[in-house]
Symmetry: C2
Subunit: 506 residues, 2 copies
Amino acid sequence: MDAVWQSQRNELFARWQEIYDLTGIAALLSWDQSTYMPVGGGSVRGRQLALLERLAHERRTDPAIGRLLDVLQPYAESLPADADDVAQLRVMRKIYERSTRVPAAFAAEFAEHTANSYMAWVAARPQDDFAAVRPYLQKTLDMSRQLAEFFPGCAHIADPLIDFADEGMTVATIRPLFEELRQALTPLVATISQRPPVNDSFLHRHYPKLQQIAFGEPIIRAFGYDFARGRQDETHHPFMTKFAHDDVRITTRIDEYDLGNALFSTMHEAGHALYEQGIDAAYASTALDTGASAGVHESQSRLWENIVGRSRRFWEHYFPALQAAFPEQLADVDVEAFHRAVNRVKPSLIRTEADEVTYNLHVIIRFGLELELLEGKLTIDDLPEAWRARYHENLGVYAPDDRDGVMQDVHWFGGPIGGSFQGYALGNIMASQFYAAALAAHPEIEDEIGAGRFATLHTWLRENIYCHGARYTAQELLTRVTGQPLTLAPYLTYLRTKYSAIYGPL
Amino acid sequence: MDAVWQSQRNELFARWQEIYDLTGIAALLSWDQSTYMPVGGGSVRGRQLALLERLAHERRTDPAIGRLLDVLQPYAESLPADADDVAQLRVMRKIYERSTRVPAAFAAEFAEHTANSYMAWVAARPQDDFAAVRPYLQKTLDMSRQLAEFFPGCAHIADPLIDFADEGMTVATIRPLFEELRQALTPLVATISQRPPVNDSFLHRHYPKLQQIAFGEPIIRAFGYDFARGRQDETHHPFMTKFAHDDVRITTRIDEYDLGNALFSTMHEAGHALYEQGIDAAYASTALDTGASAGVHESQSRLWENIVGRSRRFWEHYFPALQAAFPEQLADVDVEAFHRAVNRVKPSLIRTEADEVTYNLHVIIRFGLELELLEGKLTIDDLPEAWRARYHENLGVYAPDDRDGVMQDVHWFGGPIGGSFQGYALGNIMASQFYAAALAAHPEIEDEIGAGRFATLHTWLRENIYCHGARYTAQELLTRVTGQPLTLAPYLTYLRTKYSAIYGPL
């Protein structure tokens, strides 16, 4: 490499490493806030986080970054198209340009508003007090529209917000996909509702906390989660977080009267963590040391949680151990009954507790409401009733309050309205598409799962998806790994096959 | 206040708050490193801490701080001498001038060297490998001398290093004080050695961890430690740390075969924490929101650990509860035997495990070695043997290796040589001086301790010491609170009285 390029490249990467470290430090502060922080710490924690965000934003938008990217443009053009540095420069430029579009004063105001809005939601939700969050939500909507307008020339006002999370996706691509999905799911849900219901009452017996943890941790260790580069703690809402390439932590939530809660949230967050832990070590502390998109990330959490962790083969191996861990609670249960119970389909109000068949309808409802709000077709005042109506129409259930209705998810109270939810459904679709490709390459994977072994699957995912980090967009990655762009077919096949085995032919 | 002064004052305090927050954030990173961080996190943690230190140093030495301090000088002069803002400006100026004396390049190099030196020590100490740390220690000595030379005009090369930790103290004041102390302690140790030995073998029975924690936490809660503004976790070396005014955490170390270890380290760190938690809320996030000096801080940890926690009265109240918690282990022990055991005097190699009588000799040895190293009278090569010789001479024990000799403490491997140890002995002396003043004001304190009540003592300490934070120097505080400057008499009286009751007239 040209010596001038080399020194400019070094400077750019050193500057980016500071942004990476400030982000990792902020993640540690947030993790502590959710895990161990005493209540007193709360008064200053928001200010500490705001300081770190301001320092990171200053660095992301430093004109020196723009100058270095420009100087290095000929260097990038001198490289083969698939060189690492081409991707590095592309991703840094994307973040630089996105960040500089947003005025610093707006970014600061939005960060502060988001923090206030979140605190209002935390206080109001248990009281079912929509009136208390209404003005915050109105301001969030106004600011989300402003934020979108900093990126003119998009076909739809939601497009830039979607692009933040799922680069390359637009309303024009997602809307028809989600409509097709909805039309496939609705009759499936209706048919299953006519079949004899599945009994899952034994999942709600008393399962002591420590035994639940002791059962779950060896499973994710077997998946490949590296506890030397992470750990698991308890929080109210489970999440995965990353402080550095070799410090990727997860949290879980334990309900002593709901065996599935911790078990599947542990697998879910471990799926996210396997992705981050599997990124090429050469990308450590760079712009590529993160996942490709919200959708691809969710595809991995859902793959491990559902396609692996809720499969019949998986429980053929693990059920005896589970029964040994909880001999009294599961004395009258066999593997078939257990597998059916953890896959029971039942329309419900809560997204995060939804089964695989109804889950996407929750996402599609939210995505549609976001678009209508941004388009100005729906007002915040009308939102609670619109929420109820959509649930009734799509899932046949009716939220008795706003707590489990419009105030259910943190997203609209912790970020913009727009772009927050599509990744959950995209992830489900991608999970099946990726998994089908893995199976095509290694048909032995299912037998291995049945033997409690996951190395072939994990290695395939790491070599084809994880190692690349943010190097490819979701569509590039899908095409590269599966031979085609995002496609619904493998997902619908997966659902029909799996649930036919449980509920009879669908 | 003049409107111009007001706006300048606001700017100065806002700038200082950033320094305060960066320091608090760094403390959280260090706490996590010692408590929960997986090994993988270590590779980047030092870099993250170095970044925060650099950002804080840039802000502490920003010429704008000097300009604001100058502009506000007439404001300070317009105030009564005891106004809060006079102290605020004095302390900020002290830190600004101290920080700007040290070139940024030197500060960065020293921070990096310290991190490397610490890691070398962590690896070498278990192997008893002095040769591995020798070059680091040599560089530390060289850099400590350089650091001191940035502050010319001192009577002794160690004076600026001592001043960092114990402002106002010098070699000229400490050396004769420590010599007087040594001459009082040496015969005391010799006399006690002739008396029948105290049995403490029952402290080394098996005391399960969870019961130890369950016994210790209510004690520090009774002292006044506020768990809503703090928490206790386990670490290899116990410490107190502060992330913000309302987030002051402690750690403890639990040895299931040494009951005293966790018990007294918990009280010790709680003493430090009571100080920080007791600072006036009006000083939150300012330069005064910290202790007065290393010595004053240590006086509070030692007061709660030793004067309260190792007193006969204390155990008259708590021993029945301890016996109930460990009925088998303490079946054959009574309160008198227990009190004697936790106060057994026995010359030993390890400072942190030393009894109250021999403890200061450990400190005096280190202080003397630091001076000789800085003066050039002792070389690093000769240090291990000098250490052994001093221990033999002063304590009659001989370190069989360097692990428990010269490599015993982290201090010289985590900071400069010079100024690191005097605070421990100063703290013991001050503790008795403060406690005597508290007793003079409230003679009922000892009866209250005998009833497991600490409110009068805690309130007196808070109102006379804690609330002031860094407002006064140690000498100012001592004079203000006890009517006289630092004086040895109350401490020697305390030791003679206490140990005469255990070992017979001394």
